[in-house]
């Protein structure tokens, strides 16, 4: 079970539960729409494994694994 966004595999989805990390990173992730309760889907990884491409609020965003670790996911039943 994935605890944060960086642990999802290609094609998997999760629900944002919380953000943890530096205030500036959190602020930017929030602005881009990663608020709690939102669904994220991992679309793919770059050929060298990093960064990740995700879909959030209907658009595509890329972020590094390091940043994806800040996105905590709701535990799935």
């Amino acid at each position: 079970m994935a605890a944060n966004l960086s642990e999802l595999k290609k094609g998997e989805r999760g629900i944002v539960h919380d953000l943890s990390g530096e205030a500036e990173l959190i602020q930017r992730l929030l602005e881009l729409g990663l608020t709690d309760g939102e669904e994220v889907e991992v679309l793919r990884f770059a050929p060298l494994g990093d960064p990740i491409e995700i879909r959030i609020r209907g658009y595509n965003l890329s972020l590094r694994r390091h940043e994806a670790r800040a996105v905590l996911l709701e535990p799935t039943p």
Binding site: L19, E22, A23, E24, L25, I26, Q27, R28, L29, L30, E31, L32, G33, T35, L43, R44, A46, P47, L48, G49, D50, P51, E53, R57, G58, Y59, N60, L61, S62, L63, R64, H66, E67
Partner: protein, 730 residues
């Protein structure tokens, strides 16, 4: 006609990739005037709106995701809205907020921030055709009712829906006040803001500081730009007022970090309820299908490499004919001037100074145009973000991002367009790091130096049966720069650009067809900026170096050298031989003048500094003379060693091979040739590059730093090369 009224000022704002530029072009009918906001490298683009009864000027604000002022772009945008910039001393009369209809939720984040500026506005939903194709339904009228302002669905690239916007801007009277902001914040926030507004009103502050908009931003962004400015202007009492307002928020249990995003996105959801309808199952868009190939781990990389190869070819080879043409044309012009004008300082000034200098500026244009044509297309169609996505991993360890790839790659052809291309890098530290490293890539101006040295001093032997030794040396020279750049990147990351790893959050926008007019407009802007700003500096430096090689010019030098030849010319058996001797004499005179010129004296002066590199004063002088551009060293060596050949000429190579120290030892040995090549691989002998760094960073410190650190690197590199090779080759 109505009596001359004040020109209406309309600001255009929105997220990046929303087609803002296209709408700007549609409303104004042309590209507009591009300048810079004073003191920052943020572009200011304005143009009159076309066919208006009430004249109006459109101001294009930088594209951004949020106005929480972190970057210079965002600060400028906030200041324009506040009427707090020299260029825009009053807030705009109307705001046109552009949002991508196919990505409305996230676009409304910025849009609702802008709606709080207290400026009357209209919302433009762009690319409604793409939204419709994706099965997204939009009820513009309902949304308009909810935000209390007009909502215009438009398709910018086809010009659909633009006319109603223009008519709205041309109405007899524009709305004089903004509707109530649509986002609901918790009651405690509104109370805290009211408290802050009240306190600020009592303080002696410049009027933009009293704006509720700025105070709201200060309250929402702890430690942000708005707060810093207020504290700067209002001092202790302001700090106290902010502290009180924050305490009120904390008392209500509000987390200031998450407050804004939560309130905004919650309100956006209710604004869009029954306005935005999505298909039950998300359809695969055209973009998704294209990405399946272009971001595929194998196929995607193949396409990436192919695209990069084309970019490189374009700036390296395809622009070569145009560059050769420009060089030839200026060469012919110089010869013509020499032919029709009497010999003397004025002619030399025109040919060696002005014509060579202007030619030296214009010769870069084909490469700049070629690269920017390509970058514009890649950026506008959406591939640039994909390229950055694919390449990011290679750069993240070096403190940069995938966005640095194209600027660095282009720098192998020429650092100038490469440095200009760093504008697409959002993070300021990554951008600076890329600019500092770009001139280390082996640009085409180094090739003449390598060619000359390798042809003259590296034997054309075959290694291992197939490899050519000269070719191997050339490859090595191409690898020196990038290898050193990796080391420097790591050093910079630990020192100059220290700090948290820059974040890399990048939208991958839907693919779309670039518009020729938008691409063309940007090309003209870039070329114009280069010629105007960098061109003047390059020209000035060229003139300076010309003067230093020409003066002083005592008559007796020519007389002395001439006298030495007079007898043998007199005694020449036929006219042919006499002519040959005369040509030889003229070269000897030119050489004698250069040796005793200010630059020649400078060469003597710096000889102790270049002696450890194995150079004599003549090489030192040629290197100093090549400050305007690296390839100039070949011509200067030609003048000093009395040859008029270029890097491929056997005559010049022979002259260098036979050059000697005063005691008769050969001057150019293999270690010396390598030391010269390594020096040119690492040095910053390019006035144009330094001028462009100055222009792009808006400061003199960065070009000075580039020159200093690269010259130090070049000296150290040449020193190590010379001393090691001397040790091994004896």
């Amino acid at each position: 006609m109505t009596p001359a009224t004040r020109t209406r000022r309309v600001a255009l704002a929105g997220n990046p990739n929303t087609g803002k530029t296209t709408i700007f072009n549609q409303l104004t009918g042309h590209r507009g005037r591009v300048g810079n906001y004073a003191g920052v490298t943020v572009e200011r683009k304005t143009a009159p709106i076309r066919s208006m009864t009430h004249p109006a000027e459109l101001i294009d604000l930088p594209g951004m995701y949020s106005i929480s002022a972190r970057s210079p772009d965002e600060m400028v945008a906030v200041d324009v809205l506040l009427g707090n910039r020299r260029e825009d001393p009053e807030p705009p009369d109307v705001l046109l907020i552009v949002a991508d209809a196919s990505n409305l939720e996230r676009n409304l984040f910025l849009a609702t921030q802008l709606m709080e500026a207290g400026i009357p506005f209209a919302l433009l939903l762009n690319m409604t055709d793409v939204a419709a194709a994706n099965g997204i339904g939009l009820d513009a009228d309902k949304l308009s009712g909810r935000i209390g302002a007009p909502v215009f669905p438009v398709v910018g690239n086809r010009g659909e829906g633009i006319e109603p916007v223009r008519r709205w801007l041309d109405r007899e009277a524009l709305p004089s006040s903004a509707p109530a902001p649509p986002v609901e914040f918790p009651a405690a926030f509104d109370e805290a803001l009211a408290l802050l507004v009240e306190k600020a009103a009592a303080l002696d502050l410049p009027s933009p500081d009293r704006s509720p908009f700025l105070l709201r931003r200060a309250l929402l962004e702890t430690g942000g730009m708005a707060e810093r400015r207020l504290v700067r202007d209002g001092g202790g009492p302001m700090e106290e007022a902010l502290g009180e307002a924050r305490a009120h928020l904390a008392g209500a249990g509000i987390n200031p970090v998450t407050l804004e995003a939560k309130a905004r996105y919650t309100s956006i959801r209710s604004l869009l309820a029954d306005v935005l309808t999505r298909p039950r199952e998300r359809r695969e868009t055209t973009s998704d299908r294209i990405d399946r190939y272009l971001l595929h781990p194998v196929l995607g990389l193949a396409v990436f490499l192919a695209v990069m190869l084309v970019v490189f070819q374009m700036i390296y080879s395809w622009s070569a004919p145009a560059m050769d043409g420009i060089e030839t044309a200026f060469g012919l012009l110089g010869q013509w001037v020499e032919g029709v004008m009497p010999e003397g300082p004025l002619t030399s000034f025109l040919t060696g100074g002005v014509i060579a200098g202007v030619g030296g500026v214009l010769v870069f244009l084909p490469q700049i145009l070629a690269l920017f044509l390509f970058i514009s297309i890649l950026e506008d169609c959406g591939y640039m973000a994909r390229a950055a996505f694919l390449a990011d991993r290679l750069f993240s360890r070096l403190g940069m991002s995938g966005r640095s790839f194209i600027p660095l790659l282009s720098s192998f052809a020429c650092a100038i367009p490469g440095i200009m291309a760093t504008r697409t890098i959002g993070d300021p530290r990554s951008r600076l790091a890329t600019m500092m490293l770009a001139p280390l890539m082996s640009c085409s101006a180094r090739l003449p130096v390598y060619t000359l040295m390798i042809a003259a001093f590296v034997p054309p032997a075959t290694v291992g049966g197939v490899l050519n030794l000269q070719g191997i040396v050339l490859l090595l020279m191409y690898l020196v720069g990038p290898a050193v750049a990796v080391v420097m990147a790591l050093i910079f990351r630990k020192t100059l650009f220290k700090g948290p790893k820059p974040t890399f959050l990048m939208e991958l926008p839907p693919y779309r067809l670039p518009l020729p007019r938008v691409v063309g407009g940007r090309l003209v802007d870039r070329a114009g900026a280069f010629v105007k700003k960098a061109g003047t500096v390059i020209l000035a430096v060229s003139l300076l170096v010309w003067a230093a090689t020409y003066y002083p010019r005592p008559d007796d030098v020519a007389a002395q050298v001439g006298a030495a030849y007079a007898e043998s010319i007199e005694a020449a058996p036929n006219e042919q031989e006499a002519a040959a001797l005369e040509a030889e004499r003229d070269q000897a005179i030119a050489s004698a003048y250069v040796r005793q010129s200010f630059l020649g004296r400078a060469g003597h002066f710096i000889e102790p500094a270049v002696a450890p590199l194995g150079w004599d004063w003549r090489i030192g002088m040629a290197v100093v003379a090549s400050f305007p551009a690296r390839e100039v060293v070949v011509a200067t060596l030609g003048v000093i060693f009395e040859s008029d050949g270029d890097e491929g000429s056997a005559d010049l190579q022979g002259k260098l091979q036979s050059a000697q120290w005063e005691d008769g030892r050969p001057l150019f040995t293999l270690p010396v040739a390598f030391s010269i090549m390594v020096f040119f691989a690492l040095c910053a002998q390019c006035a144009a590059t330094l001028a462009v760094i100055g222009r792009e960073t808006n400061s003199w410190r960065w070009p000075v730093f580039s020159f200093a650190y690269m010259t130090a690197l070049a000296w150290i590199g040449a020193f190590i090369t010379y001393q090691l090779l001397r040790l091994f080759l004896g």
